[in-house]
């Protein structure tokens, strides 16, 4: 079941995958195949409604695959996919927390550890340490005791990234992680993602911002109408041109 058993280090393999939303007549992801290797830095582009979010939720098993086969971190995606999600981080695109939400930043970051613990196990010292570290790497440790609903949108985004880091994911899916962030935060998070990629974490980002890319080969996936229209790897400086060319 481990990644090391695989020859080519592929962590995400989709093989002619179709994904449909409940109640929808047509599939949203259609006949999509791709391979992403361990430690790759992947940018997913494409117009609004192309299916980028849907693709991320297909990869982490939150949406049902109606045809085709998916293998994530060496595990076949089947059933409710909960095992896959224990290894795969996912920053959701849209969120809103009421100011009355009774959860502090620390609580939310700790929740990142819960999936890996499974039922009946209580968080221990290692979990608290991982949460503290994750908060520090996002610079939100000073807000640890503030209810998350009382932070700004960008601060909340950082907390949710910390929540995902706390679980030590093998793959990190990020849906427009830069959308709410100021310049410094973008830089900081770009550096963070780069260092994670260096450590072998696979980074998969839906983004329209191409300026803060790390200095390493970037795997570009461009989507349109639920299919992949471009799949290539290039230098960080060429990403914008590649995305533009394929979407034209």
């Amino acid at each position: 079941m481990s990644i090391h058993g695989q020859k080519d280090n592929a962590v995400v393999v989709l093989d002619h995958v179709f994904t449909a939303y409940e109640g929808a007549e047509h599939p949203t992801i259609r006949d999509l195949s791709l391979t992403i290797k361990q430690g790759e830095y992947v940018i997913i582009g494409g117009p609004n409604g192309a299916g980028k979010t849907t693709l991320l939720e297909t990869i982490n098993g939150m949406l049902p695959i109606t045809h085709g086969k998916a293998t994530i971190c060496g595990m076949a995606l089947a059933g409710d996919g909960v095992h896959v999600r224990q290894k795969v981080g996912y920053l959701i695109q849209n969120f809103a927390f009421s100011p009355l939400t009774p959860f502090t930043v620390r609580d939310v970051v700790m929740m990142g550890r819960y999936g890996g613990l499974g039922l009946f196990t209580r968080p221990g010292d290692a979990d608290y340490r991982a949460a503290e570290e994750a908060m520090k790497s996002l610079g939100v440790e000073d807000m640890a005791d503030i209810p998350i609903g009382q932070l700004s949108g960008g601060q909340q985004q950082k907390v949710l990234i910390a929540h995902n880091l706390a679980k030590n994911p093998r793959v990190l899916l990020l849906d427009e992680p830069f959308s709410n962030l100021d310049l410094f935060a973008r830089e900081r998070i770009s550096h963070l993602l780069e260092s994670l990629a260096k450590k072998g974490v696979t980074i998969i980002i839906v983004s329209h911002a191409f300026d803060d890319l790390p200095d390493r080969p970037i795997h570009i996936l461009v989507m349109k109408n639920g299919t992949l229209i471009h799949d290539t790897t290039c230098a960080p400086g060429d990403v914008e041109a590649q995305v533009r060319k394929s979407s034209a």
């Binding site: 409710d80 959701i92 009774p102 039922l119």
Partner: protein, 276 residues
């Protein structure tokens, strides 16, 4: 169980019943209000009410019939409410109307047959004519409810925070969510005789609505809500029996007054005038 405190047997049983019922309901009230499934709690309370009315009419075990009705609602409404996929409002509205109709049909029919007395407790609650087993049942359910929250604390709090984020974090959301609905159905069915089908909803919402005004964390809410629920319910029972007033409606009114006071006194509504 509390005979050493309260000499009068009837008062003692009434206090015990209200104490245990209010603890179970208030703990679940925190879950219900925080996940925003008040309408499910509401519908389940009325389904249990209808189930109990049917049970009494056909002279089968009313509590079992109520549990069954609550579980049917949980099974039917669970998928709708999960992840807020579809707005369950309409379905709940239909279901609520239907359960009320069933309950009222059988109660009215029983009244016309001269069996009205059987059913009045169902509507307005009855803390006086309780069987010892019912009180034990309530004690057990209040303990089970607390244990349920403690055992699944991680999962329940994550679901309360955000179901989608909980699911993405690799938490087993579905089984815990359904277990939660099951606990609500069970508790509602056991409390319906004591509190009454028309008022049970107050216990499933108000204690938590009061607690949230003063609590900053979910942990505090799980502790404060049942304390508030228990104090108000026991006071209601003692006052009602002392002055010959209907216990459950009196307690429901006390809850509402306390809620109004909590809103007025809540630190959440204060605006600081400091300049720094």
């Amino acid at each position: 169980m509390l005979e050493f405190l309260i000499q009068n047997n009837i008062v003692c049983h009434a206090v015990e019943a209200m104490l245990f019922a209010s603890i179970a309901c208030s703990v679940l009230a925190v879950v219900i209000t925080q996940i925003n499934i008040s309408s499910i709690g509401f519908t389940m309370a009325h389904a249990a009410f209808a189930g109990a009315a049917v049970g009494i009419f056909f002279s089968i075990n009313a509590t079992l019939a109520a549990i069954l009705a609550g579980l049917i609602v949980a099974v039917l409404l669970g998928p709708l409410s999960e992840r807020a996929k579809i707005s369950p409002d309409t379905a709940l509205g239909v279901m609520f109307g239907m359960t009320m109709a069933i309950a009222i049909f059988f109660i009215a029919y029983m009244q016309s047959l001269g069996r009205g007395f059987d059913a009045s407790g169902l509507m307005f609650g009855d803390v006086v004519s309780l069987f010892r087993e019912e009180i034990y049942g309530l004690a057990v359910i209040s303990i089970v409810t607390i244990l349920f929250i403690i055992i699944f604390y991680k999962e329940i709090t994550a679901i309360i925070f955000n179901q989608k984020i909980a699911e993405a974090a690799g938490i087993r959301v579905r089984p815990v969510y359904y277990a939660m609905l099951f606990m609500i159905a069970l508790t509602v069915a056991l409390c319906i005789n004591i509190i009454g089908g028309l008022l049970l909803y107050v216990w499933l919402v108000t204690p938590a609505a009061i607690a949230v005004q003063f609590c900053n964390s979910i942990k505090q809410m799980f502790i404060v809500a049942p304390i508030i629920g228990a104090i108000v319910s026991v006071s209601g029972a003692l006052t009602g029996l002392e002055y010959g007033l209907p216990v459950s409606p009196l307690t429901a009114v006390l809850f509402s007054i306390l809620f109004a006071a909590a809103i007025i006194l809540s630190p959440r509504r204060r605006i600081s005038m400091r300049k720094e």
